[in-house]
């Protein structure tokens, strides 16, 4: 009886995790699509968005607008990374690999969130840092999410 109860509990958790992972996939795809169409994807578009273009009379973003944008995105990043990585703790992969992936994910998130300020106050070349950090962040999230989904779907977790 105890075994049946425990099995049902683990089946429930596995199902919830798989469903959550599908939701995260949809979010990541929509996130990338939104970034692409809103001009917040390629380095050139981001440079234009933040710094503007005096020749075409386009104004860049003010500090307040940048802070508002980072404020909203920071929340999503915190929830996404902490949930994905916490779930990933139960997946059977080497600890050193886990540490490497977590460090890459968190550092890319930090650079992604802080690079708009570097673009505004330091140099427009930081738009390449923004682009690289964004791609790395999405790739890491995608990979960890995929790993979580398959591990929990197969029931092969700690």
């Amino acid at each position: 009886m105890r075994f049946i109860t425990q099995k049902r509990k683990s089946d429930l958790i596995n199902l919830l995790v798989v469903l959550y992972c599908i939701g995260v996939f949809i979010f990541l795809i929509m996130f990338l699509v939104y970034k692409f169409f809103s001009g917040e994807f390629s380095p050139e578009d981001v440079k234009l968005l933040i710094l503007g273009d005096p020749e075409s009379f386009t104004e860049g973003m003010s500090v307040y607008e940048i802070v508002e944008l980072v404020h909203t995105e920071a929340f999503f990043v915190i929830i996404l990374l902490m949930s994905l990585f916490s779930i990933n703790l139960r997946v059977k992969i080497p600890e050193k690999l886990q540490i490497g992936v977590f460090l890459t994910g968190f550092l890319s998130a930090f650079f992604y969130l802080l690079s708009p300020f570097f673009i505004k106050f330091v140099s427009h070349y930081f738009s390449y840092l923004y682009f690289t950090a964004l791609l790395l962040f999405v790739i890491v999230s995608f990979t960890v999410n995929l790993l979580n989904m398959f591990s929990f779907a197969a029931g092969k977790v700690r």
Partner: protein, 148 residues
């Protein structure tokens, strides 16, 4: 080095980034005075328009859920360390000051005299949540480099 403490360390660091952007936005919108808070919500008749109940609600509604989630996430992680009384006090203060902070703009529409409390409760909320984040960073850092 255990990966779980890495998650805690960076999660708390990211929250400090979130808190600092929140402080800047608050400073720009409400200032740290009751007078500026009142002007922001009730308008000044010249440049700043009066805010509607629906407008204030639209802004504060997502904050209510998001601050509850983030505060819960940060303080529940202390479960992995020896739970000291200060963590419990900070959690209680964070939640209560957060609830009052995000309810006040709606109340200020009908009771303008409450505007003096907005900067106070925001400050208490920010300090308690920041203190919780810093303590979590300290505990996680200690555990990360602790010899097993």
């Amino acid at each position: 080095m255990k990966p779980v403490f890495l998650i805690m360390l960076f999660g708390a660091l990211l929250l400090l980034v979130e808190i600092s952007t929140g402080v800047y936005i608050f400073w720009e919108k409400y200032g740290f005075s009751g007078e500026k808070t009142l002007k922001y919500i009730h308008g000044d008749g010249v440049f700043i328009s009066k805010k509607s109940f629906l407008g204030i609600l639209k802004l504060n509604l997502p904050h209510f859920l998001s601050f509850s989630i983030t505060t819960f996430i940060i303080f529940h992680l202390f479960y992995f360390f020896s739970v000291r009384k200060i963590y419990i006090y900070l959690a209680i203060i964070s939640f209560f000051s957060g609830w009052i902070n995000f309810l006040l703009p709606i109340l200020i529409i009908y009771f303008p005299f409450l505007s003096v409390f907005k900067p106070f409760f925001f400050t208490v909320f920010i300090f308690s949540l920041s203190a919780g984040s810093v303590l979590l960073i300290y505990e996680a850092f200690r555990k990360l480099f602790q010899k097993c």
